[in-house]
Subunit: 214 residues, 2 copies
């Protein structure tokens, strides 16, 4: 009787191998065979899950998006009380910056993807899905803040969401290049957020208020 394979566990095993390679030397030079070796399986077994390097990178991308989502959720759930839109935005943006090894590796995987997708229309469709989801999530927070009178009603939620994401991605690149210290990047995001929120009817002060720009 052939050995039963737990596909979900096998996928996780491959994802972890991809992650280690991405963290150590980047996925750019990694072949399917390298990943199979790292995961301790044969090339044939690996090809059961994906047949090309592009498939592998999309798989890694989805895996890191999932991990990032879990980190954000854990972070927000650890906060006392019901989190406000401002807090949700701040915590999510902080998690997007390469401030620790996990998000740094996530960024390196994204860059490997980016470099290939820029020349490949099929591969870019995944970016479109991911960006739409992230932008929608941020736009919902801005809408909620407008409804609470914390952000001026004439701000466009989708435009503000796009600005916040672009800003954080640009600052992330600077942190990775060491042209900006992580705490400076976070300070600039906080300053931008504080201004976005200062356009409303005012935010109640006291504990939990966003405070002044760093």
């Amino acid at each position: 009787m052939p050995k039963r394979v737990d596909h979900e566990e096998r996928r996780r095993q491959i994802a972890r191998a991809l992650w280690r390679i991405a963290a150590e030397r980047g996925l750019d030079g990694a072949s399917l065979r390298d990943v199979a070796t790292e995961a301790g399986i044969s090339l044939g077994q690996l090809q059961h899950y994906f047949t090309s390097k592009d498939d592998m990178i999309v798989f890694a991308l989805r895996h890191i998006a999932q991990l990032a989502e879990e980190r954000v959720r854990t972070r927000i759930e650890a906060l006392p009380g019901a989190p406000t839109p401002w807090v949700i935005l701040r915590e999510t943006l902080a998690e997007m910056l390469p401030l620790d090894d996990a998000s740094r590796t996530g960024h390196l995987v994204q860059i490997s993807y980016f470099v290939r997708a820029v020349h490949d229309e099929r591969l870019r469709t995944h970016a479109k899905e991911g960006t739409a989801a992230l932008r929608g999530f941020f736009a919902d927070q801005v809408k909620a803040a407008i409804a609470r009178g914390e952000v001026a009603a004439d701000r466009d939620p989708v435009g503000e969401a796009t600005l916040l994401i672009a800003l954080t991605e640009g600052l992330s690149s600077e942190v990775l290049m060491e042209t900006l210290a992580p705490q400076e990047a976070m300070g600039l995001i906080e300053a931008h957020l504080a201004r976005l929120f200062s356009g409303g009817q005012g935010i109640p002060g006291g504990p939990g208020s966003p405070g002044s720009p760093g």
Copy 2:
């Protein structure tokens, strides 16, 4: 008598070859030999100018920075009257977005560099020089705008410069990935600039005034 070589012309010839390769397929997979072939010279002749792929990419990076600077200067000189800080910032940021083939290729070269530099400290020193120069130029414009009463005096010029650059780089990535239309990216930059400038004592209206956010 050996043929005299015009080193400056030879460098330009190599730079043009690098540019063509970057535009067509990216520098990631290109070897020194590929570049020599494209430039119509021997590998030995090429190695007179740089001996490694890293040197070649830094050379390409400096070349594109120079071309971008020239494009910005031409663009600003073509404007009527003395350009204000607001106009200089807007035109420079517009030139940084991948809105045409030249700046798109420039971005692709920068990405090739980025991917290597993120794993290489020596290579990152070039990013530090380039970023310091660009940030200083933008900070000077913000300082001038503060002196003219167009930007609130409590804004930090270097912080605002860093935000503007990060924002434009993040939006550029979205344009390259086709998750954002070029005109949307420019609209968001104009909106951000208009808000930066709305914090001052007010900008004189009439022709040439920045107008409302897109």
